[in-house]
Subunit: 237 residues, 6 copies
């Protein structure tokens, strides 16, 4: 019943290849089916101005999409002269989500910038960016630990994300583009390795939804994120 | 225990004054305690380009804040040369929320622009903008009906919004600035007059949250939005 | 003979409500008939860079207009990505006019920013912004005096403004929009409480004008500004 | 008593060299002492959008300054990414002033763009731009007449401009930079060949001014502009 | 003697993987050693405005670099709000180079946009972008031929590029970053499959160079480009 | 056979008038036939940030064109809000070329900005800007020497530039606009007074070119630049 033939509770094939960008302190190429996102983590020893003198660090994210990541070509944001509202919303979400898994005092006064660039898009790019971004972050922080630049591990837990939605009247896990463009309600869920919630963003594209529908999507998200966390563990081990 | 002395389930005093902008097809000044937002609805007979020839209309929103709506002065976005990511995220939310209550075919090929300008800010400005924006929209659409420019009412239901959060370990309704800046988890909830969900946006500012905590915030939101819908009814009657 | 039925030398009804923006050091809502402008004064303890070390302060102004302050909606300048030439010209005028009434050495090395935001426009918004901006400035400076942050009063005199023009062949005081759009010649006049001139800006929209016509407009302006100064006195007392 | 040794009522040496830009329909290099401005007129057969179908034409102006026209180098506006408020204010003034001398119906549905670029600045650049811009405009319109693209002359009269101010307590004509930076009050005056007023912009830089002072500056301006009109006549004959 | 241990006339290992971006009409990932560039070709059936009605098509290019393609992170151009001069210069070169190999009449009134995004940079990114961009272009045009949208092949010849320079006093082929940053003179050479020149850009970074040195670099370029053309042939066959 | 009647190896008439901008440390108006460029050199005692503490100075250039320097009016870049790719490419070339003739250690920690503004364009503006820019630079550096702000002359040699191209099948020197717009291949050549190469930029506008054609253009450039260097010598002596 799903265009891809997947079961309702089935994720797309996951692949997380690390070390793909030689200069970055941490990097990976995450593939969720046909959605491919390059994630890198760059350590900057200077924190943002508002944290100077606080002893705390920061994690922030930027998001982009290659012009031909999509079915038809999108205008390059650098040529347009600004990032779209959608781009800004997504990168704010990624940064907020990843910070939820970080002890910023343990990180110390430095900043880690996570760049997430979509090479190919088939729905769920922001979730893939969070899941892959965490891997890049984990690898970069491990370098800080190995170099004894931080003494206790600033990473408190895994953070991963998945989208779910009501497609053709059924709750389904990990929407691809074909499903996403038809879904009446969809949501993005960010959770920790311990299964606690970090972000919930649900939106009625067509008609409003009930608390029961919300609950069924949360059930799917919990199941999906548990698998994503396993994939993260495999990638960074 | 709340800085304002309110009970956990108590909204701030609501006031919705209509007709405050003489030129707009619909307008109101909504006050949620010390948060004051001017909302106007402007009807444009031309739909956005992507809807031409579809028979459908559009509702969109823009959000702004006077530089001194806040404790210290913020830079004017027009002088800075761009809208912040936060502003864009909020105005996208307002537009999406209001469209959820509109039958866009019944509206016909026209666009209604909802402008929400914060005169004074004390937390919850995006929620006040949605609740007040709906009133401005309702008034403008009623003019279309009175002028027989539309024949069946494009407004399907009320749409209103409130924020809730975990403050000092307790779930509280309608956060003001003092609470919002301390809350470990908070969320914005948009619902219809019939009590169905339109948008849920929850975020762990400090530590991640459980599904039980999420449920208690939803309970508060349901109770609060029911009162906001009553205030909307009183304002437009 | 005037569209509003006013006499040639008659101002529109004036109302100046103070204290309307809780966070600002000084604020007012000035209404000149259907022209409504929110004015706030924000004290910043840091002067602009070019005054550092001079012992002198600065007063500057910013001007904006809500998109639906006018008959048809104007594009939001923050969304357009820049302030129009008209906006910049107006805010430069407001700042220059208000500085003419301030002893900048007595003010000391700080800056006061006057924000003037037009809520509703019916002609004469820049003049209303100057008259109301002075009230906001006066209230903010009084706070500095009360807090003994300045020792002698930096406000040397009132500053107020009015427009006059040749409408249907007659010199008229305080043009509203209907008159302004038809006037052959119009001007904006800024004067002190003592009746001295601060700014004169006259422009031939249709045909050029004579010195005699200029004189008759100055006569009207003197009469009008005297009344505006009385309204300022009442507002700040 | 003037830094340049000029008499109070003495203009700087005027020189208007025409035909200096081979491609332009009209052009001149105007020199008022050490202030040098290149002015060109470009005819575009398409009027601005707001005039289509009205039978009327338009005259507009743009103003610029070479980075090293001034004592110290100014940032190039094209590199800064925007025109300053001062630039926009000046080019709006030039356009408005020149339109006052044009019969826009006789011009027909076309636009003439006057570009005024300051090569060297020593005060009074906007006035020189108006006086020189009129010459460029006159030459371009004469080409339209010669080519029988217009049948009756759209130029109704000369338009020229000069600045005057109170310098060291005395009213002086045609301020240079040394005087302008010290003047307590100054003004820019635009008049027609017939001696009628087109624009008056007076500003109290230091202390407010009286109507008597205003009158004495107007007297100077009348005398000066009469000479500038003679120079224009000589240049275009 | 070269940091990489390569011989003076030795290219880095070349790899061209096609079909890497599922949505693009043509695409490849080109690797010249540690320089990796993703190239895609997007066919747009609408030509640029200046070619409408001429029967001719257009090929244009855009260039970007992921923020962490380099040793230290560069600011994202979309966030900075503009493309740097370097970026614009490079993308103009790529477009010009590729157009030199295309019969624009045979292409017909359509545009092909080549996007070249540097994933990892180690010198020579613009040359890799041209060589890889040609492959993406070739694949896209082959689709037009296969679909009979064009009848005769618009691709007239291969176009490929390589950099050469004087490093440590010796002419060397295909500079990597370590060599490029030390080279006294370097150049980018674009040639056709037939060995004719399309672009030559040589620049004295340190001291000026002689015609003899120029000749030796051209010799190297000819040899290198012949191998690149072979790699292109292998990739598209 | 050339539209201008010039011989194949004939430059346009050269004129270099110095001291044309009173405020600049060095300036000239260079005329190559109908191409006229104003060049100024501005000394700034502060070097760019990346050179602080290195003991070295910098020379940079900015390029602009008056809107009506060309046959039809071009949009003013300051009004458009950005410099075009062409402008940036040209000003980067000018700066690079002039730096090749400067000993930056002898210059010391200061910056010289060369502004090149095209007053009238008839092809070859970037070459004229380099040749004239060197004169402005030379004059400014001579002031530094005269004032003993530098002790040994930082100018190592002349730098001048000319364009050549294949026009109507023949190699010709110093293309004017009529030739440039028809030329199949053209190039810009920058050389020192000693006849060594600084920059070579050749481009096949129509069909690719051979090394023999490249050689014949270099021969022409050598001859032309020798004459330009003589003109520079005459101008600065």
């Amino acid at each position: 019943m799903r265009p891809s033939g997947r079961k309702l509770v089935e994720l797309r094939p996951i692949s997380i290849e690390t070390g793909v960008m030689a200069h970055a302190e941490g990097s990976c190429l995450i593939r969720m089916g046909n959605t491919h996102v390059l994630c890198s983590a760059s350590i900057e020893e200077k924190p943002p101005a508002f944290l100077r003198g606080t002893g705390q660090g920061w994690v922030t994210a930027e998001y982009g999409m290659l012009p031909r990541a999509t079915h038809s070509r999108n205008r390059r944001e650098a040529a347009a002269g600004k990032q779209s509202g959608r781009t800004q919303e997504i990168q704010r979400l990624i940064g907020r989500a990843l910070r939820a898994g970080v002890d910023r005092l343990a990180l110390g006064e430095r900043q880690i910038v996570i760049d997430c660039d979509v090479i190919q898009a088939d729905g769920g790019t922001r979730c893939a960016a969070i899941t892959g971004g965490w891997v890049a972050l984990r690898l970069a922080v491990s370098k800080l630990l190995a170099a004894r630049l931080v003494t206790s591990d600033p990473i408190m837990d895994h953070v991963a994300a998945v989208s779910c939605g009501i497609y053709a009247g059924q709750p389904v896990l990990d929407l691809d583009y074909a499903e996403d463009s038809e879904a009446g309600t969809d949501g993005n869920f960010v959770m920790t390795g311990a299964g606690r919630l970090v972000e919930v963003q649900m939106s009625a594209e067509g008609s409003a939804f009930s608390r029961a529908e919300m609950g069924s999507l949360l059930d799917l998200a919990e199941a999906g994120i548990a698998q994503l966390v396993e994939a993260q563990k495999a990638a960074v081990s």
